[in-house]
């Protein structure tokens, strides 16, 4: 691997971190009347997996971030918006109560922002039907190399922004903080000392805990449109879409109709898309509103640091570092934002937005 990427720590199974035997029993109990997602190991990564009796136990806490974020539970990579037949259309049933265990501070914070986006204005029904019935259990994180939540403001949670949170700062003495009424019910049988009401949760500090000037970034992003830094990134970017697929705050989709051999039967699917793909902004007739790769990269970051801020007053990047980790050429927000902050307003030589 190139020198641009730091070493990836060992997989969580061999990390020698605390394994909580009492946790398994509690999770098993929760799974009895909930659809429970826990984290499991797959091919050297951590993933969210639906709990089943023969599921591997959760080990090696605290852990690293998952490969796919929790969005996959509420906005599946592919789902039918409805099925159709000669009898008309029918929406698929709404899933029952879901509990997700093992979210870090940044993941919980990002999940809330995604939920807010989906609820905003005209709500996204399938997402909200799943999300509004769900309960999120946080866990202390081990800082993953390449993560930077302190820079994006997704490094803390207030009560109400989590349902339960399992503190593992002192692995010998785990504590469970209660953040909501729904969480309180689940905590009743928890095998840990309960802190009710729980307080604010703060992610472990990084070496250089400096917040980006998030308020100023929208304007900076706007000004940097067309700047040469995007062209430079475009010479490296493979356009593979890995970054958007793993991002907890990327959620774009496309739709497609699928039919069976009898064309009266079929479904309208929605599937994850990626704004990094050439066809993303192409319209019938062939005109493409974001033909250049450099514009597509700009677009991705402008969503995170301009549009989301303008709409919700929060950064659309949690600072999890997943996109950087899974980018084959090592493009990530830290490098990009450093560049954006350097583009001087209206600098003609940089070719920015007038």
């Amino acid at each position: 691997m190139g020198a641009s990427k730091p070493e990836i720590p060992e997989s969580q199974d061999s990390s020698g971190q605390s394994v909580l035997p009492e946790l398994q029993g509690w999770l098993r109990e929760i799974a009895a009347d909930h659809r429970l997602f826990i984290t499991a190991a797959k091919g050297g990564n951590r993933i969210f997996e639906e709990f089943s009796p023969d599921c591997k136990p959760v080990t090696g806490l605290p852990q690293e971030r998952t490969l796919l974020p929790v969005k996959k539970v509420f906005l599946p990579p592919s789902e039918p918006l409805f099925e159709f037949s000669r009898g008309g259309i029918e929406a698929p049933p709404t899933p029952e109560n879901t509990v997700v265990f093992g979210l870090h501070v940044c993941e919980l914070s990002a999940d809330r922002l995604l939920a807010a986006n989906m609820a905003h204005d005209r709500p996204d029904f399938p997402y909200m039907a799943r999300r509004s019935q769900s309960l999120m259990i946080g866990v202390s994180c081990r800082r993953t190399s390449g993560c930077f939540c302190e820079k994006t403001g997704h490094d803390h949670l207030a009560p109400g922004e989590y349902d339960l949170f399992l503190h593992l700062d002192d692995p010998e003495h785990p504590r469970l903080a209660v953040g909501s009424d729904a969480g309180r019910e689940l905590a009743a049988n928890a095998p840990f000392p309960v802190e009710d009401p729980g307080g604010d949760v703060i992610a472990p500090a990084a070496a250089a805990p400096e917040r980006w000037p998030l308020e100023a970034l929208p304007e900076k992003m706007h000004d940097s449109f067309g700047a040469v830094m995007w062209d430079e990134l475009a010479t490296r970017c493979l356009g593979c879409g890995n970054c958007t697929i793993v991002c907890p705050l990327c959620y774009c989709f496309y739709t497609r109709d699928e039919t069976e051999l009898d064309p009266a039967n079929g479904r309208r699917l929605r599937l994850w898309d990626s704004c990094q793909l050439l066809a993303f902004a192409r319209v019938a007739g062939g005109h493409n509103f974001r033909e250049a790769r450099s514009e597509r990269i700009w677009y991705r970051f402008s969503h995170k640091f301009m549009r989301t801020w303008d709409t919700f007053g929060a950064a659309g990047c949690s600072g999890c570092g997943a996109c950087f980790h899974f980018c084959p050429v090592g493009i990530g927000p830290r490098q990009v934002i450093a560049g954006v902050l350097q583009v001087t307003t209206n600098s003609q030589d940089a070719g920015g937005n007038p």
């Binding site: 797959k42 970017c237 109709d257």
Partner: protein
């Protein structure tokens, strides 16, 4: 619209099917390994239902009586490697509304197209000990000879794409073949990334549609489905070279889709350094 066919075909594709009747389907083999035709037979669960839903009018591998048209859609498997196969191909084009290349051989020349990296005379001498009069044709994709409306790529072609093509044409829409890179599906499957581990995986510059079968079993993608729209080859080569040597990488690109236009510049540069 967006995940539709890659390069815009010239002119409209006539997706209207034979009015009121069943979709008339032909499967025409040219020189090939027949693996793609087998993928048709491998539709097994759907095969009997398919045989009822469409009229398979031409499929010499499976049927004794075969009709020469007219068709709503014809799948051409393989490449023309002899002069008389060109006649078949042109005849087929005249008799069908939609013509689909089935697999990387008909779409790109496939593995046999690697003949172009050798002297054809030498090759024939080597394999057939001097029988130079053997009727051979330079291996070229069928689009070199006739208009191709749909490319079903892959070695072998994917069953999913075959079914999507048939169900779409039955329903009266253009099939939505994927144009995005393998990595999207690979990530969705939560595979470990071989490229990041240092293996020469062509996933980021190869078109999805096979179900990322190779990376899913720990084998780097060999690029059998050909390049995505606008692949960033320069950057990709740089990354790929972390896990392989330049000659091995070039040979990898020469394996399945050596005739795809996107690769030619790279081959030219390689030839110059030889």
């Amino acid at each position: 619209m967006k995940q539709g066919p890659g390069p815009e075909p010239e002119g409209r594709i006539d997706i209207s099917k034979n009015p009121g009747g069943k979709l008339r389907v032909g499967i025409f083999p040219l020189t090939s390994d027949a693996g793609c035709q087998l993928e048709f037979l491998n539709l097994q669960d759907d095969l009997l239902a398919l045989a009822k839903a469409v009229d398979i009018l031409h499929f010499p591998m499976a049927r004794a009586f075969n009709v020469d048209g007219p068709f709503d859609v014809v799948f051409v498997d393989g490449v023309p490697a002899r002069r008389d196969e060109l006649e078949i191909l042109r005849e087929v084009r005249r008799n069908t509304k939609v013509l689909a290349s089935l697999g990387s051989c008909s779409s790109f020349g496939g593995v046999p197209a690697a003949q172009r990296f050798h002297d054809l005379g030498d090759l024939k001498k080597y394999v057939y000990r001097g029988m130079e009069d053997l009727d051979t044709l330079e291996i070229l994709p069928i689009s070199n000879y006739v208009r191709v409306d749909l490319q079903l790529r892959g070695c072998p072609a994917s069953k999913w794409e075959i079914m999507e093509t048939l169900t779409a044409l039955i329903a009266g829409r253009l099939p939505q073949l994927k144009t995005y890179p393998q990595c999207i599906e690979c990530k969705i499957k939560e595979n470990r990334c071989l490229l990041i581990e240092g293996q020469p995986c062509l996933g980021p510059i190869t078109r999805a549609g096979c179900g990322v079968v190779c990376p899913s079993v720990g084998v780097p993608c060999d690029g059998c489905r050909g390049p995505t729209e606008e692949p960033n080859l320069t950057s990709a080569v740089e990354i790929l070279l972390r896990g392989t040597t330049y000659p091995d990488l070039i040979r990898k690109f020469q394996k399945f889709c050596s005739l795809s236009p996107e690769y030619q510049e790279m081959f030219d540069r390689w030839r110059e350094t030889q």
